[in-house]
Symmetry: C2
DNA sequence: CCATGCAGTTAACAACTGTTCTCTGTAATT
DNA sequence: AATTACAGAGAACAGTTGTTAACTGCATGG
């Protein structure tokens, strides 16, 4: 299958990735709806018209960024849930996993948090669809736990959605606290930990 | 005190409000960081330079919009919490209150949800500060409930934050479902209701 | 080895942006 | 009644934007 991808298409994907990277960086201080095509090409060091060889518009660029950003988030969510069984230690580990992911992929987290409710409809929908798929996966993972005995499929999906939202919320708070003091960052993670613990307690006592 | 506000300043506040209203409407399909000053004045039917008589920049306009939008949200949150004691009926009432508020002030809800993580730092901070004040008020309200016996101040604030976030989350989901089918909207409110119920159960079993 | 395809360039366009300066009419003050 | 303050208009500015067209050079497939 993977025929070594001729030198031609390799270069194309290289500049395409450069455009994505530059856009992601520019989006740290603005939102997608104000991101200009020329702005991106200028940052890469390529002619404005070259943009069209890769994307029809910045909107399309945004949709592509959703794939990339949530692609990096995907394994994190899986790990988090399989780690977040119930006991105190597991939840702490899960929150640490989130905090660590924020440190290694801050731009991705920022992009998703920002554009989830952002001004570009197609991007909003792309994020929503991906998050729904995530919730579905989380549901499947949750179903394996012994605490899920007797739960309806609907309730499991409800809980999964709550977890996904809470993860993003926590990630966004960690992001804002990234450049704050050490104690502030620890305060954020401690609050997030207790919130997830409270949800876990609600889960344990849901039935009956 | 309230001396009937001369005809001069009355007109000024009138066009100021017109600018705010026009901006809020334009922001339904974009984010603040792409909102142009000329765009707003054009929508109002006033010269571009008139904008400077009221705001230094669109960023300032955004900060003013935070006051307005969260001003309308404020009583809603108070009602919701005092309604959301614990029992099933109360929670249903609270979610209905949120849904109703979204129907009557959709642009306000959209603005807050969008710019909370948006591309303009000052606006983000303004929203965060206001939401922290809300959480503080919710904490005070929660402390009055009998279920809060034995809770630490810190834990109450943690719970209050969880409630505030969940309210905004629910409001945003209601907003996206506003133009969807009747059954879709009911599905959203039913999921939100059960999520809040699960949190309430977690609250009841937090200690011990 | 030559012809084709195509990533990226250059130049130009009309439209738009934020900002400054100057001016006008009129409500408020004296 | 005369003067001042000031909300808004008008025109002009230098920059920027997205998009089109015609181009160049080079990797690729016959």
């Amino acid at each position: 299958m993977s025929h070594t991808l001729g030198i031609r298409q390799a270069q194309k994907q290289k500049t395409r990735q450069a455009l994505l990277d530059a856009a992601l960086e520019l989006l740290e201080e603005q939102s997608l709806s104000s991101l200009g095509l020329r702005e991106v090409t200028r940052a890469v060091g390529v002619a404005p018209t070259a943009f069209y060889r890769h994307f029809r518009s910045t909107e399309d660029l945004g949709v592509a960024l959703v794939e990339e950003a949530l692609g990096s988030l995907h394994p994190m969510i899986g790990d988090t849930v399989s780690a977040a069984g119930d006991s105190a230690g597991r939840i702490e580990r899960a929150v640490d996993l989130i905090a660590h992911h924020v440190e290694s992929h801050p731009a991705h987290v920022r992009f998703i948090a920002r554009e989830r409710h952002g001004g570009v409809q197609r991007v909003r929908r792309a994020i929503r669809e991906q998050l729904e798929r995530f919730a579905e996966e989380v549901k499947v993972e949750l179903a394996k736990h012994p605490e899920s005995k007797g739960w309806s499929d609907d309730d499991l999906l409800m809980l999964a959605g709550l977890y996904v939202d809470q993860m993003l919320m926590t990630a966004s708070l960690c992001l804002e606290a990234l450049e704050a003091s050490e104690e502030e960052r620890e305060r954020v993670t401690r609050v997030a930990t207790r919130q997830m613990r409270l949800i876990a307690i609600g889960r344990r006592n849901w039935l009956g």
